[in-house]
Point group: C2
Chain length 233, copies 2
DNA sequence: TGTACATCAGTGAACGCGCGTTCACTGATGTAC
DNA sequence: TGTACATCAGTGAACGCGCGTTCACTGATGTAC
């Protein structure tokens, strides 16, 4: 048969290992993720975990890939939920809020992909694909904006920056002028900077209503990307 | 005598412990900081370190306080180096570049105060004072901007956000309108977001000249705070 | 200025703990004929 | 459909390692008289 009992059980236990690892990471941090502790909680002997993941780093890699996929899926879903596709500000806000919500619900996974690097761990190439998923969501908003004349396209850039962005534009085959890419990148940084600030506790004792603050900041950011409600030309 | 030999030697060894700890943190990360490893490198028996720091967490706290102090001092120095005090954009750029340079020179210490929190560690109250040092630098730029009519003061804010910022303004006894504080806070986030992105490797394979990119971003940010070269009124 | 005592830095052994990974093994599940 | 063999999941013991922290101790430095 296509999926044997063995294969099904294997997939289930693989998921259980990852789930338990995620939960433990929330308490101990990524650096403290321990195969033995995971095995103990599942009720397995520690060496049994090696039937599923050849090493601790491979488990970490799997968690990172899952996290990128999850935040990417959350962003895609939020973007798709906005029915009026020319409402770029609405799409931006939906994606921004989705990123924040996902991060608040999965703080340790967010830290895994957006916090300080895990010491001694080098991410393999496998993580690059899933990582670009959430980035692509923003890029699509910019592409649609350019296509419908809903985004400012002007602006000057220092040569070095323009060159780097041209490289990016050509690699991804985007029809988006460099200044738009530049503002998009800054908005991206503002989004993840805001989420990290909130999550890592930098807003403590300053902002009591981080949701309202986040929304206001992202609205201003939308404005600054140069997103418009009606065609410019 | 005021400082005995014992006291002088004590201060020297305390510094040596912190220096070695900083160097090891760069390799192992904050979570992997180990009293035993530090003692080993210094050539001390591990229990001797307890004459200087009552526990591993106290050593971490000392490193955090030092890091806040160092980045604060770097920011203050950069701000003070701009002789024309009404050149707010120049002051902002100087401080931003100083923060970035310090972070690049001391990546593990930057991560310690701006990266994901160290698991299992709760920062004591002692860190609050040093932490506000760098924040105060930006606030002074805004205060001077308002005093000399060099910064936009208008803008609307949702009630909850305005309320939070009013609290901040009153606590710090600042004569700065809430919208200015709001934009300042966003600029602050943009600055640390940009440095973190660069340091934690998110710009890899996208930006080859991160210095130029950083400068261009911070210039745009200065513009967006509403800093002007000449009085508005 | 000299001496007796108190303070303090550093030693070395020990406690009790956890970690990643390897390896020979048992017994259950799956596959080919 | 039944049987022989191959594959695979999980076991339990072991290797070699590092960690934070405590404690009784020695010997040097500092202080009071």
């Amino acid at each position: 048969m296509a999926t044997t009992t063995r294969a099904r059980v294997r997939a289930e236990i693989t998921n259980e290992i990852k789930d338990v690892a995620r939960r433990q990471m929330a308490e101990e941090g990524a650096a403290g993720l321990s195969l033995r502790a995971v095995a103990r909680e599942i009720g397995m002997v520690s060496s049994a975990v090696y039937r599923y993941f050849p090493s601790r780093d491979d488990l970490l890699t799997a968690l990172i890939i899952d996290a990128y996929d999850a935040i990417g899926a959350a962003g895609e879903e939020a973007d798709a939920s906005v029915t009026r596709r020319t409402d770029l500000v609405g799409r931006w806000m939906a994606v921004a809020r989705a990123v924040r919500s996902w991060a608040i619900e999965h703080p340790s996974e967010y830290a895994l992909i957006n916090g300080s690097p895990v010491p001694g761990y080098r991410a393999p190439q496998d993580t690059i694909g899933p990582a670009s998923r959430i980035t692509s969501v923003l890029v699509r908003i910019l592409v649609d904006g350019v296509a419908h004349d809903l985004v400012e396209t002007g602006g000057s850039l220092p040569g070095a920056v323009r060159g780097d962005l041209r490289g990016m534009r050509e690699r991804l085959e985007l029809s988006v002028p460099e200044p738009v890419l530049f503002r998009g990148l800054l908005a991206w940084q503002q989004l993840f900077g805001a989420v990290s600030f909130e999550l890592f506790g930098q807003l403590h004792n300053v902002i009591d209503d981080p949701g309202a603050y986040f929304d206001a900041g992202m609205r201003l950011t939308a404005d600054r990307i140069g997103l418009h409600a009606r065609p410019i030309r």
